[in-house]
């Protein structure tokens, strides 16, 4: 269909389902820690705004968590249904890591999530706070396992190949593979930043509508502190991640930079913009800054950065895509840093909550963190092509033998089902956001929850609003 081969369709399908899925866990990770901080501050200061914010965001957290679980169900099967070659080859390592991720998630749900969502008035404050903290830690442990698996596929070690299949030799080496610490830090911070901008945009929306109350101000203020402090930290961590990639996956860096060849003895320039052309083996319309490539990537003025032409054509990732996905990520990252700096200046001038242009900026920057996160994933995943397990297995050998027709049918189904169902879920989340924090929430006994006969104890049930409210 449209000249696409089954392999392209399989990759598109995985990219589509995993991109959809990743948004929910990212917000889950960020909100869980945000909620733990809010509850901690409420217990410490007894300021009502913190408690109101806790209840407001825990409802949104619950809906988001539910959608993450539903979209994750597909992921647990997709490795087998679509990537049979990979599952057989690497299942002995990625399978157990995925199992641990699933076990962590269920352990959480079995234990602490119910208490966190339904236990506000049923258990002691300390136990409730403990549950929230455990949920927050749990989301990070889940991230740990899933990124250990992904990082191992990027920079494999601690294995042996026997009969054409991977066998784990040293689990610690497998888990703590070279790219893992950087990827884990970069992803966890990305989730925090994305959530901060989501929260900030919600607050800006209310402020722009004149709903100026202590809770709304508080969440706007917290989001902007995050933007000021964490967005620059992310840039720093991202740089380290890039240097790590340079060491272990030089072809990815060459493709990101659209850098085709080096002149002997000369430092490498940095191409700011251009259009890498894979057929012509050059980057068209390139706007270059001399020395900058060497400066950024080697932190020197003479060493060269890797060039794409030094890799055989069949080993080159698609530079056209990763060149741009990387620049989208970096561009948004710089914008987010700018928002943080701007917010600090307004805060100093006492205009943080009243400067309309800035509130509009914060509103439109709401999805920026999530888009940057997706762009980053596109960069790292397309950049490690043509390998599914770097240097060990090519993506072309990883897929199951499905034909283009059935791949097209299922891809179409996924697109229709995901957009309609998660669209409804997303608009429901937005409806909750629009309602805003309610003062004195949580002072009465809510319905439902574990320990109460005949009432639900499930994430989505934690929100009581009707859809069209």
């Amino acid at each position: 269909m449209f000249g696409l081969e089954a392999l392209d369709l399989a990759r598109m399908q995985f990219a589509f389902t995993v991109s959809f899925h990743i948004l929910f866990p990212a917000i889950t990770i960020g909100l869980a820690s945000f909620l733990a901080v809010l509850e901690g501050l409420w217990l410490k200061t007894h300021e009502a705004a913190y408690r109101d914010l806790y209840h407001f965001w825990s409802k949104i957290f619950a809906v988001n968590f539910g959608m993450g679980v539903v979209s994750g169900l597909v992921m647990a099967y997709e490795f087998g249904t679509n990537w049979g070659g990979f599952s057989d080859f690497a299942g002995a390592i990625t399978g157990p890591l995925l199992t641990y991720e699933v076990l962590t998630a269920f352990f959480l749900e079995a234990g602490f999530l119910g208490v966190m969502l339904f236990g506000w008035n049923r258990v002691g404050r300390g136990l409730h706070f403990f549950s929230t903290v455990m949920v927050a830690i749990g989301t990070l442990i889940s991230t740990f396992w899933i990124l250990a698996s992904n990082s191992w596929m990027q920079t494999p070690q601690g294995y042996q190949i026997v009969d054409g299949r991977v066998i784990p030799v040293d689990w610690l080496a497998v888990i703590f593979n070279p790219s893992f610490p950087y990827r884990l830090a970069h992803m966890a911070i990305a989730a925090f930043v994305a959530t901060a901008f989501f929260v900030g945009a919600s607050a800006a929306w209310h402020l722009l509508r004149g709903r100026d109350n202590p809770a709304v101000r508080k969440m706007f203020s917290m989001a902007m502190w995050m933007a000021l402090i964490v967005a620059p930290v992310q840039a720093f961590v991202g740089d380290m991640h890039g240097l790590n990639t340079l060491e272990h996956q030089p072809a990815k860096i060459a493709a990101i930079e659209g850098h085709w060849d080096n002149v002997p003895g000369e430092p490498s320039p940095l191409i700011l913009f251009g259009w890498p052309d894979m057929q012509a083996e050059k980057t068209r319309f390139a706007v270059e800054v001399p020395y900058l490539g060497s400066l950024i990537l080697t932190h020197s003025l003479d060493r060269q950065i890797p060039a794409l032409k030094t890799f055989p054509p069949e080993d080159r990732p698609n530079s056209t895509i990763v060149f741009w996905s990387f620049r989208v990520m970096v561009g948004l990252g710089l914008l987010m840093i700018a928002v943080g700096v701007f917010s600090a200046w307004l805060r100093w001038r006492g205009k943080l909550y009243s400067c309309k242009p800035f509130l509009y900026l914060a509103l439109y920057m709401g999805p920026a963190g999530l888009i940057a996160l997706l762009a980053g994933w596109f960069t790292t995943e397309i950049g490690r092509q043509p390998w599914v397990v770097y240097g060990l297995m090519r993506t072309a050998h990883a897929s199951s033998n499905h034909d283009a027709v059935q791949m097209s049918i299922t891809l179409g189904l996924f697109v229709v089902v995901y957009f309609s169902l998660f669209g409804v879920g997303f608009s429901y989340m937005m409806r909750l956001v629009r309602k805003g924090p309610v003062t004195h929430e949580g002072t009465h006994q809510p319905h439902g929850g574990p320990g109460q006969p005949r009432t639900p104890a499930r994430p989505l049930s934690a929100s009581h609003d009707t859809q069209e409210a």
Partner: protein
């Protein structure tokens, strides 16, 4: 080490799938029975009987998938590739059912019928394709050099389609007897009505599958009908007949709990029969759990965490059913 981790993992996965079939079975059954109950209030009650537990039930499906991946990667790779379309359709059905479940309660009156339809359609599709996948699995999966060697539609056989319909009957019976246990008044009376024909349909299904399978597969016939196996396995069909008779009698005299418990026994016996036919193959007809196993260092690494966490999941499951015991009436609001 002397410990057969493949065997332990096979037992864990068989147990997990059993938990899934039993528990998601009755809540999918409720979706299947929805068209037979028209009153909005009764439909609310039906959903309320499973509202607190349904998505915990799906836990076992995810755990089963992940455990299969880690412990038996070859089976995960081949079986899931072979059953690609039915499994994707099943997952779509489950997604529809899950989202409909929650949003039906949050929707306005005039939109609710849309979610009712999504709930019915999702439950039917998930069940049907689960049955189709099961049938195709029993029929066997051709493997050449560790890859699935059949076509895209090889799963589409009269036998697999029959298994799909059969599973709809099985889950409907689980659902109707669950509702007999959990409800009262007119809804319960309606469930007594639909249960009797369902018993007959399911008995016919079990009979046909029990004959069709050995007729189509000589090795399975050999396993059942050679001596001394025949004497060991004979209790299974006899117990099935006794259970069906007991079920019929219990429904006739208006028992509350016994019909559901006997249906559980019936499903368990059917599952055991299946196990006898296929053991120890994890990819019928020829690849055993040991052939498909990942290396011991993978299986034992997973086992540590699983044995630690499984008791918590079981404990929580037991507790949520315990909390939720007793009849559900229209007065018990969901929200």
């Amino acid at each position: 080490m002397g410990i057969d981790t493949s065997l332990i993992w096979a037992i864990i996965i068989i147990f997990g799938v059993m938990m899934y079939v039993v528990m998601d079975g009755f809540d999918l059954g409720i979706g299947i029975l929805f068209p037979f109950v028209k009153a909005e209030q009764d439909r609310d009650v039906m959903m309320n009987t499973v509202a607190p537990v349904w998505d915990g039930n799906e836990t076992w499906l995810v755990l089963g998938g992940a455990a299969l991946f880690g412990a038996f990667p070859l089976a995960y790779s081949v079986v899931l590739s072979a059953l690609y379309l039915p499994l994707i359709f099943m997952l779509m059905g489950l997604i529809f059912r899950g989202v409909a479940f929650e949003f039906r309660f949050k929707a306005r009156e005039n939109k609710r019928h849309i979610w009712d339809k999504a709930f019915i359609g999702g439950s039917l599709a998930a069940t049907f394709f689960q049955g189709v996948a099961l049938g195709a699995f029993i029929d066997g999966i051709p493997v050449v050099e560790r890859h699935y060697a059949g076509g895209a539609l090889a799963w589409l056989t009269p036998f697999s389609l029959f298994c799909g319909l059969g599973l709809i009957a099985a889950y409907a019976l689980l659902g109707s007897t669950w509702l007999i246990m959990k409800t009262e008044g007119p809804l319960q009376a309606r469930m007594y009505q639909v249960t009797k024909p369902l018993i007959l349909v399911l008995l016919a299904v079990v009979g046909v599958v029990s004959l069709w399978t050995p007729l189509a597969h000589g090795d399975i016939a050999q396993r059942w009908f050679s001596t001394p196996n025949l004497f060991w396995f004979l209790p299974v069909p006899l117990l099935v007949l006794a259970t069906v008779a007991g079920l019929w009698w219990a429904v006739g005299r208006g028992a509350n709990y016994i019909p559901f418990l006997l249906t559980l026994l019936l499903i368990f016996l059917g599952y055991s029969g299946l196990g006898i036919s296929l053991w120890p193959n994890i990819i019928p007809p020829a690849i055993s759990i040991w052939d498909a196993a990942s290396p011991p260092q993978s299986q034992s690494f997973m086992l540590v965490g699983t044995l630690f966490i499984l008791p918590f999941i079981l404990g929580y499951t037991f507790w949520s059913y315990y909390v939720f015991r007793g009849k559900v009436t229209a007065e018990d609001g969901y929200h």
